[in-house]
């Protein structure tokens, strides 16, 4: 492989890793934009999505001999829906029982609660997933089902080898981005979201059900996180109860990098973070330094552009 190919290979690696970060980062940013809460449990919602998809596969009877088209057109969408159902349900429950009672509390209270929810969800899966009859114990990593046509499959473009799981992740990000744009700008709930993020009190006076809007924000973030969970499973071949911790931290970083509260910012921040990590591993010292460069970039952005790459300078109303 020559140097040009290496560059493009690392770019592709970075873009697909970045897409994963971006899908999770959207959840941080949407919720922050509306309730100014950094939902640290969002990484666990991503993990729940992956476990939900796995559970769906188990319920389907662990189909492993389906043909590639059937798997991609039927099995994968069903698994994704299963994952979304699980993560949206959990996200709405945490919103209802953990965050809503603290809606008018000082901002620190829901933040600490979010960390508590995060620990709770991790430990809950670790301890109890194995109690579902026939399910494997989640105390160590579980092998994610392979989907024929995606897991392990690759396509060669010039000298660059692209894994189908990376194509899936990128495609999922593009689809979700378009969906989000339409949802936020063209639907009633989406416009209510914008209104609520601008001024919740006035929005309420205008007849917007703010509780419903907040639930929608949690649900949208959770849905995208579940898709990221499935992409993670396909990409790495295994899932575990603490997979949400580092992924959540990186995605939160991406959201801040892009400008927290801005959906496009989360997507751009995720992609930039992924690409910087991949390229830094190749060109800036040993691979051990990749996180150093990623966080150096974050610090630089925050010093020179505190609102993030795409964040708008707004007057903080709190």
């Amino acid at each position: 492989m020559d140097l040009v190919n290496l560059f493009f290979q690392q770019l592709i690696n970075g873009l697909s890793l970045g897409s994963l970060y971006a899908l999770i980062a959207v959840g941080y940013t949407v919720v922050y934009g509306i309730v100014q809460l950094i939902n640290f449990a969002h990484g666990e919602i991503f993990m729940i999505g992956a476990f939900g998809a796995y559970a769906t596969w188990m319920v389907l009877g662990q189909p492993s001999d389906w043909s590639a088209p059937l798997s991609i057109l039927v099995l994968l969408p069903v698994m994704i829906i299963g994952g979304i159902v699980a993560s949206v349900a959990v996200a709405l429950l945490t919103e209802r029982w953990a965050y809503r009672p603290l809606r008018n509390a000082p901002r620190l209270a829901p933040l600490i609660t979010a960390i508590g929810v995060s620990v709770f969800l991790q430990e809950f899966v670790r301890l109890f997933y194995g109690y579902i009859p026939g399910f494997p114990d989640a105390k160590s990593a579980i092998a994610f089902p392979s989907v024929p046509g995606i897991s392990g499959a690759t396509i060669q473009v010039g000298g660059v080898l692209i894994q189908m799981s990376a194509v899936f992740t990128l495609a999922a990000l593009v689809v979700c981005w378009v969906f989000l744009w339409y949802y936020v700008n063209r639907t009633k709930t989406g416009r209510a979201m914008i209104a609520t993020s601008q001024d919740p009190d006035t929005a309420r006076l205008m007849g917007i059900n703010v509780d419903k809007v907040i639930m929608a924000a949690f649900a949208v973030g959770a849905g995208l996180a579940a898709i990221a969970g499935v992409a993670h499973g396909l990409r790495y071949g295994n899932i575990d109860f603490k997979m949400g911790f580092l992924a959540g931290l990186k995605a939160f970083t991406a959201a801040v990098l892009g400008g927290i509260g801005n959906i496009n910012g989360a997507v751009v921040g995720g992609l930039v973070l992924g690409v910087v990590e991949s390229l830094a591993a190749t060109y800036l010292g040993a691979s051990a330094w990749k996180d150093v460069w990623a966080f150096v970039l974050l610090i630089l952005v925050l010093v020179f552009r505190p609102q993030g790459l795409l964040g708008a300078k707004v007057v903080d109303r709190a």
Binding site: Q10, I38, A247, S278, T282, A288
Partner: protein, 402 residues
């Protein structure tokens, strides 16, 4: 609250969540029944009973439990009943240290089997040493634990520490010897920056270069990482004939899978840390190699008694890679206790005598002859290369390091 103080809170929370991620300790206490009544002596276990490495840690706990049950049944130490106290170290040095402190404050504890990880041993040994409790590890392979930091002038740092397994200073060179004999001259190395992985890769690199091989690339990964695509792409450009990995199966399995996914179709070779069925479950593929200490357990006549007793005891987890070594470690302690507890009035006063008695322990265990040299290392230098064949680890070659 203004924007700036809010950001500060965010940063503090990230820091706090990082710090707390490694906290919390769980204890798991197994039970040993049977035996005569009388004075009680406890043998502790410190190993990962939860988390990624729990398959190995639970195998260690169960094997020690088995040795204790057998000793109680045969009344090996007249007038004494042995008990097991198993502590979870979560493969984390800090948690291991807490477990060691807890065990050393228990006056009935006379010996400890553990730890699994060399990095955890580094915090556990000093605690047990200050309480003069003998520690026998079934799995620590880092040479510095017994020989001190300067391997050219070995000096034993702790008199209470012994091990039944061979070390990286033997394992790494044995892997190098195997690869060179198979005609592989260009190898890239990757390790996880933990004491075990780094030690293994350093020993391998020295021996491989001395034997005429070339290290095409030396990389590292973070143990928490899931994505190795950047490292794999970089290693691939140096066209190695094999990749030598220092670390354990939770990362090695996915790494092997991602190597093959990225078109780097060469074997991944590692040490005993990847010699586990979970390596294959997590992505290890046919052709991958691992060295492990001793001869294959099921090929040894001496191990057959252990294997059949283990399955008869009805444990819910397999004995895994280190079960036989943990069984031998526990029996080494029990053999020393036969001498030290004979005239002792209480367990605590026998601690120093137990350490003294370890030097003369010599018996035929599940893994072969069990005895310790002047550093506390096992006298055995027999190793085996295993190869993934048809989705299973199969012994490829057993030999002694030349």
């Amino acid at each position: 609250m203004n924007k700036h103080s809010f950001k500060l809170v965010g940063v503090a929370l990230v820091a706090a969540s990082l710090a707390f991620a490694g906290c919390g300790s769980r204890a798991d206490t197994g039970s040993s029944s049977g035996g005569t009544t009388g004075k009680v002596a406890t043998i502790g276990v410190i190993s990962p009973l939860s988390g990624d490495l729990s398959a190995l840690g639970l195998g260690i706990r169960n094997s020690v439990d088995l040795a204790i049950r057998q000793a109680n049944e045969s009344n090996a130490i007249p007038g004494w009943t042995l008990k097991l106290s198993a502590q979870d170290d979560q493969a984390t040095p800090d948690v291991g240290k807490n477990a060691a402190t807890k065990l050393s404050s228990d006056d009935t504890v006379v010996g400890v089997v553990g730890t699994l990880n060399s990095s955890v041993a580094q915090t556990v040994i000093p605690v047990l040493a200050s309480a003069t409790i003998v520690q026998v590890s079934p799995a620590n392979t880092n040479p510095t634990l017994t020989q001190g930091e300067d391997l050219a002038n070995p000096k034993r740092p702790y008199a209470n520490y012994f091990r039944t397994c061979t070390t990286d200073s033997v394992q790494g060179p044995f892997a190098a010897q195997y690869l060179l004999e198979s005609g592989i001259k260009n190898v890239a190395t990757i390790h996880d920056k933990k004491a075990y992985g780094q030690g293994l890769v350093e020993a391998f690199t020295t021996a491989f270069k001395a034997g005429g091989g070339t290290i095409t690339d030396a990389e590292t990964i973070n143990p928490e990482d899931k994505d190795f695509s950047a490292v794999v792409s970089k290693v691939k450009t140096t066209s190695p004939e094999a990749v030598y990995y220092g670390g354990e199966y939770p990362q090695a399995g996915p790494l092997s899978k991602q190597m093959k996914g990225a078109g780097l179709n060469v074997p991944l070779m590692g040490g005993d840390g990847i010699y586990d069925p979970n390596f294959i479950k997590l992505g290890g593929t046919d052709g991958d190699l691992a060295t492990s200490v001793g001869a294959p357990v099921d090929s040894l006549d001496s191990a057959k008694a252990f294997v059949s007793a283990y399955s008869a005891a009805g444990f819910s987890e397999p004995y895994a890679a280190y079960g036989a070594y943990a069984y031998d470690a526990a029996n080494a302690i029990i053999n020393a206790l036969k001498v030290s507890l004979k005239d002792a009035t209480d367990a605590k006063s026998a601690r120093q005598a137990t350490i003294d008695a370890m030097a003369s322990v010599s018996f035929d265990g599940a893994t072969g002859k069990v005895a310790f040299d002047e550093f506390g290392d096992s006298t055995s230098r027999v190793l085996t290369v295993y190869k993934v064949t048809g989705g299973e680890w199969k012994p490829e070659k057993t030999g002694e390091l030349k």
